[in-house]
């Protein structure tokens, strides 16, 4: 688990470098990636469906990104990208591709479908977080208006 935390932190920060994020945001990028991956890993280790795990992790990534984006006044994409990368179903797509090459279409299509659903789960996680963010903003605005 410890090795997982360290490697996911470094991998996410390294992705920040690949996407040229500002130097002073690299640490936060690493944190977002590490927390998202830690949640995913924990859930999968406890035998929870990987689609649910990806959804939860993407949600957490998006929530933390929103917090960082507000706190440091930077575009949210910076944190989103580095957090999402570890969740991308690279391994599954690879397995699917391998079975396609071996003409084992039954398994290949199954794996590809699963990879596709994982990608959908990432998108859904981001969307949920955005929904909650908008609800909070609207709620705060209304509270402010009531007070005035």
């Amino acid at each position: 688990m410890f090795a997982q935390l360290i490697t996911s932190f470094i991998a996410s920060a390294a992705f920040g470098v690949i996407f040229n994020v500002p130097k002073n945001s690299l640490f936060q990028c690493g944190c977002v990636g590490m927390l998202g991956w830690a949640l995913y890993f924990f859930l999968v280790e406890n035998e929870i469906n990987s689609i649910i795990a990806t959804l939860a992790a993407a949600f957490i990534v998006a929530v933390i990104s929103q917090y960082f984006a507000k706190r440091y006044k930077t575009p949210i994409t910076i944190f989103n990208v580095s957090g999402i990368i570890p969740l991308v179903p690279g391994g599954l797509s690879y397995d699917a591709m391998k079975h396609f090459v071996e003409n084992d279409f039954n398994i290949a299509v199954q794996l590809a479908t699963k990879a596709f659903m994982l990608a959908g789960a990432i998108a859904l996680g981001l969307i949920f977080a955005e929904v909650i963010n908008q609800l909070i903003t609207k709620y705060n605005r209304r509270k402010l208006r009531m007070r005035n």
Binding site: A3, Q4, T7, S8, I10, A11, A14, F15, V17, I18, F19, N20, V21, P22, K23, S25, W37, K73, T74, P75, I76, T77, I78, N80, V81, S82, I84, I85, P86, V88, G90, G91, S93, Y94, D95, M97, K98, F100, V101, A119, I122, A123, L126, I127, E130
Partner: protein
Amino acid sequence: MNDQLHYNEIIDVCLLAGKIMLQNGGETSRVEDTMVRIAAAFGCEDSHSFSTPTGIIFSLDGMHPASKLIRVSQRSTDLHKVTLVNSISRSISSKEMTPQEAFSRLKQIEKAGMGYPLWVQVFAAFIASGCFLIMFQGQWSDFIWSCIAGGLGFSCLLYLHWLLEVRFFAEFIASLVVGLVAMLFVQIGVGSNLDTIIIGAVMPLVPGLLITNAVRDLIAGHLVSSLSKGADAGLTALAIGTGISVAFVLL
């Protein structure tokens, strides 16, 4: 006449800001939002911006209606520039900058080089490959081999992007290189698990920014750009997969 000049200046500032953001990986929703905000801060409340991944149309209403179109053909990923433009837009909104100042600052940003030197980026890809290998349950003995394969693949990607303007070809060749190098390591007996080495080494090629932007644009209701970015990401993923499978077929 003087007024007209002033409005032209505002349009130029907005378009330049939008262009820099779009070229360097900002979402279209952010681009449109930023342009309208800048115009509003300079006193043009009625402005419209329409941007797609390949171009921006911007127009001002009111006393001096005017519109301009800008074509964006070359795109790269430099989120540092997006952040800089974002902060300039913030200081314009709080009325700390004149159009002339903003324009010269934006020009500087446009001309500036990439945020990190090339070797740092390749090194980042090198390290990231190894870390992904561990994250995907690989063995530590394969760490360095995954690093080398990933670093080589990513250097290939950068070189081919610089050399040719053919989309998807660079990703295809880069993943082919990753596959071949990983197989070489396994064949000569230094690497043990081919699958995890390849998965780790391929990760730096994943179009992460495209995926994120496609989703974010979809949430914001920018259907044209979200679908085209999604297609772009899908085709890039397909190119990577094809490269790997060609490597399998070759050996």
